[in-house]
């Protein structure tokens, strides 16, 4: 999966049974250009319009994190 832009997001405080232990956690609808995907956000919170990079897929769920600026990359 490629990198994308945050179309919208929320932080979930009241979680469904499966994810109670994870709450609060952020999810986002990420715009990938040709389609959108609902994904989990790793680390720093993101906002609408932020660029995000694909991290990995776990149990069928895509995880993204805020894209680092070029001068922040190690």
């Amino acid at each position: 999966m490629k990198n994308g832009t945050v179309y919208t997001e929320t932080v979930v405080w009241s979680a469904p049974e499966r994810y109670v232990a994870d709450a609060p956690y952020q999810i986002a609808i990420v715009d990938l250009g040709e389609r959108r995907v609902t994904a989990r956000v790793l680390g720093e919170r993101v906002a609408i319009g932020d660029r995000v990079e694909f991290v990995e897929e776990r149990d069928g769920v895509a995880w993204f994190r805020k894209e680092l600026a070029a001068d922040e990359r190690g």
């Binding site: 929320t10 932080v11 405080w13 009241s14 109670v20 994870d22 609808i29 609902t38 149990d59």
Partner: protein, 386 residues
């Protein structure tokens, strides 16, 4: 197509009723509707039941004959309709279709949900089944989360504020406090709403409708026979059910509920009215943002103007167009399968002039809007005095 009238209504109180089971609630509402129409069970030609998740909430399937039989209605078609939170709206639409087509003269449409016997995380899990379980819900969304993401986007595109969302909650709580059948009779302030416990940011508990038990029922018939049952029939002037994608990430602009727009346009056309003529409405405020979207997608205001409209006071009981005078799903309660028919009962009550303290002044033309999921089903019904 024949004209159709509502000739009987019946509702239970909405609330948390640990001593009541699903069937007893549905039967109570159904019997009240029969009594209101002076109708015997053996005169009922078909029974339509809206229910979202009885099998998950209480472990009971085959619900329509289970309820109808307990009301003394047997020997006729008895079928359950499931369309998420628009389950009984969908049941109503299909019952109307059959009467309008001349298949039956007199039918009962009921809706019921028994939700409060489950824990909050379990309820969230069951309700999540109205979304895409292989996509958005697998990623950890809940229904509050989906509407929170709509709210965020609406705020981003149109400058909608949390105070505008709170205005919806404050109004609906004020109305619910005067509704004897409402789940929550508690007046709140904007400050309280804003300081509520977060559910899915930016929504707090005060932005979310209630998890409730309850049932509602109506008797509808061919309008030409209405006088046999009641002196105060209410006409179904227009009704439409439309659909959209279930998954929110497969929709285009999520700040518009396309199914609400299309079902409203069709219902208005059938009724021969415009949005501007609708005098009052019961809309699907499962979340405060949903009521704001309803103002826009039903055509009461332009897209993006729903927030200021909420704050203007126009939709209060004594405003220019009262919306959710009953308290809405927010305060009246939201037993999901009962909501659609419950809204129709509330509109009929207003048109009859029987809404007591919550009576609206201009009451000849009202609308009920029932939404399923994050907008994959919408049912809009326009009702008027005969």
């Amino acid at each position: 197509m024949r004209r159709v009238a509502v000739v009987g209504i019946g509702k239970t109180a909405f609330g948390a009723f640990p001593d009541r089971d699903l069937r007893s609630l549905a039967v109570e509402a159904g019997q009240k509707a029969l009594a209101d129409a002076h109708l015997r069970p053996d005169q009922v030609e078909a029974f339509y039941l809206g229910n979202f998740a009885g099998p998950s909430f209480v472990g009971q399937n085959h619900l329509a004959p289970y309820v109808a039989g307990a009301m003394g209605i047997t020997g006729v078609p008895a079928t359950r309709f499931e369309a998420a939170c628009a389950s009984s709206g969908a049941a109503f639409f299909h019952a109307w279709s059959a009467v309008a087509a001349g298949i039956y003269d007199v039918v009962v449409v009921a809706g019921v949900e028994k939700m409060t016997s489950q824990s909050t995380p379990r309820v969230a899990e069951i309700l999540a089944g109205a979304g895409d379980m292989s996509g958005e819900m697998r990623a950890g969304a809940t229904f509050p989360a989906l509407f929170a993401m709509i709210a965020r986007r609406h705020m981003y595109q149109f400058g909608t504020t949390r105070e505008q969302l709170a205005a919806v909650a404050v109004k609906n709580h004020a109305n619910g406090a005067k509704n004897p059948l409402a789940h929550m009779k508690k007046v709140i302030t904007v400050e309280q709403a804003l300081a509520g416990k977060p559910v899915a940011e930016p929504l707090t508990v005060y932005d979310c409708s209630l998890v409730s038990d309850g049932a509602a029922a109506v008797v509808i018939c061919a309008a030409e026979r209405a006088a046999e049952f009641t002196g105060k029939p209410v006409r179904v002037l227009g009704v439409s059910q439309t659909s959209d994608r279930v998954a929110m990430d497969e929709k285009g602009d999520i700040t518009t509920l396309q199914a609400v727009r299309s079902s409203a346009e069709k219902a208005y056309r059938m009724a021969g009215v415009s949005a501007a003529e609708i005098q009052f409405a019961e809309v699907h405020d499962c979340f405060t943002i949903a009521e704001i979207l309803s103002y826009e997608d039903l055509g009461f205001v332009k897209k993006g103007e729903g927030g200021p409209y909420a704050q203007s006071g126009a939709t209060c009981v004594h405003g220019e167009r009262p919306v959710n005078a009953s308290g809405g799903l927010k305060a009246k309660g939201h037993p999901v399968g009962a909501t659609g028919v419950g809204q129709i009962c509330d509109v009929v009550l207003q048109i009859r002039g029987e809404a007591g303290e919550l009576q609206v002044v201009r009451r000849e033309l009202g609308l009920a809007q029932n939404l399923g999921g994050s907008g994959a089903t919408s049912v809009v019904t326009v009702l008027g005095a005969m």
